[in-house]
């Protein structure tokens, strides 16, 4: 009986290991609001909305393929995709962190949070070079 218990525990352990996922590191979300996407496309559905400075686990897995500019991430129970440009190794200095009481007064509803996240997906970003 005891032997069987050990055997099945070992099987369970083997199963979790086979998912082949490795946490690369913890990064922080840079824009004000954004989405964890279902697939590596700006137009793909949102799994959850996160805000600036939210910690994000970046995962590597041979089973998940994503476009070069996307990171495969885990946020709480959700596993999805975020643009690499939106992630920072250091905790960013967010406006809602600098002015928390002012920001509280915004009282953003769910729809506004969603659209603010989408706005950052829809922008075409650009910057001219240094002289």
């Amino acid at each position: 009986m005891w032997f069987l218990l050990v055997f099945f525990s070992a099987l369970t352990f083997a199963d979790t290991r086979s998912s082949d996922e490795k946490v690369v590191g913890v990064f922080y979300f840079k824009p004000l609001f954004g989405h964890v996407h279902q697939s590596s496309s700006r137009a793909s559905a949102s799994m959850t909305t996160i805000q600036c400075s939210h910690p994000v686990k970046v995962i590597e897995s041979s089973k998940v393929s994503a476009a070069a500019e996307w990171a495969y991430v885990q946020v709480a129970d959700h596993k999805g995709f975020i643009l690499k440009d939106f992630l920072s190794e250091k905790r960013p200095d967010c406006i809602m962190g600098r002015y928390p009481k002012f920001f509280d007064a915004f009282n953003l509803d769910l729809s506004e949070l969603y659209y603010w996240g989408r706005l950052n997906d829809q922008y075409l970003y650009g910057e001219t070079r240094a002289p």
């Binding site: 004000l32 600098r98 928390p100 002012f102 007064a105 659209y115 075409l124 970003y125 650009g126 001219t128």
Partner: protein, 298 residues
């Protein structure tokens, strides 16, 4: 009833008399008091010798400093953002609130506009400029430039307008360049800034709630400026002349800009859907005249 009351009064008087007597008995003698002082002084000396009273003073000082610092940190939480920090926030909030009207949340092909605009900006010598281009799937707003964070701008452009005019990437970039010059001249900021915004930005509101009317007033001015008011003839003249002076060194760009204005002029005169364009950006016809060389009278 009266008898009961008299009895209670007597009992009360007796208790008071006894209590007074008791107090008189427990009152300390002068010598006793003096002795206490002496004892305290001797204890104090011992305390001083041990350095305990010094450490108490030090502890009080540390507590005071910590309390003061905590107060400063708490106070910092109650600031309005500075005006420079407010622009980006308000512009994005306005875009979020008008998402359904402007229809910017849509799937679009990669037009490569951001790269083409970068090329022109760099060609004209505008370096380290950040921009966010937002394409709109609606003719409700043809174009606009909104202030953002420091050294950054938000440029809006209608895809149906681009398609109807069949604009090239170069022409689109020239339109964006015009909008960049408008933003640089701060016409927009001057038009939407309210006295309340100037007064409250960067100030502290600890002990009260942030004034919600500050944002609402500015957002209302955004609606007015972007959707109805637009720019004056004088402002358009200044922008056109600025485009003229920057593009003169690059004849291919100047010619493309001149042709573009003519194209827009013809298009809006026959297309009812864009009849408001002339009111917002007066006027492509005048812009062509301002750019045209003066006719010589023989």
């Amino acid at each position: 009833m009266i008898n009961t009351f008299t009895g209670k009064l007597a009992l009360l008087s007796f208790s008071f008399f006894m209590a007074s007597g008791g107090w008189a008995q427990t009152e300390k003698l002068q010598e006793e008091k003096e002795l206490e002082v002496v004892n305290f002084q001797s204890i104090k000396k011992v305390l001083q010798k041990d350095g305990l009273s010094e450490s108490a003073v030090q502890k009080r000082k540390t507590t005071d400093i910590l309390k003061k610092e905590q107060g400063v940190i708490e106070r910092k939480r109650y600031f309005y953002p500075t005006e420079a920090e407010l622009w980006g926030l308000v512009s994005e909030y306005w875009l979020v609130r008008n998402a359904q009207l402007l229809v910017w949340d849509f799937v679009k092909p990669d037009y490569g506009i951001e790269d083409s605009f970068r090329t022109i900006m760099e060609k004209l010598g505008f370096f380290q400029k950040k921009y966010k281009i937002l394409l709109l799937n609606s003719p409700a707003l043809v174009r606009a430039s909104l202030p953002s964070d420091e050294n950054e701008m938000i440029l809006l452009l209608s895809v149906p307008f681009i398609r109807s005019l069949d604009l090239s990437k170069l022409e689109i970039s020239l339109l964006l360049l015009e909008d960049y010059f408008r933003l640089e001249a701060e016409y927009f900021k001057k038009a939407v800034r309210t006295p309340k915004m100037s007064k409250l930005a960067g100030t502290n509101f600890q002990g009260s709630k942030p004034d919600p009317t500050m944002l609402e007033e500015v957002l209302k001015n955004y609606d007015q400026q972007v959707m109805r008011k637009g720019y004056t003839f004088q402002q358009q003249f200044e922008v056109t002349k600025k485009m003229d002076s920057y593009l003169k060194a690059h004849p291919e760009l100047w010619n493309a800009y001149f042709r573009l204005l003519g194209k827009i002029d013809k298009f809006i005169k026959v297309n009812v859907q864009y009849k408001d364009y002339v009111r917002m950006y007066p006027s492509p016809e005048m812009q062509v005249k301002w750019l045209s060389p003066e006719e010589k009278v023989l």
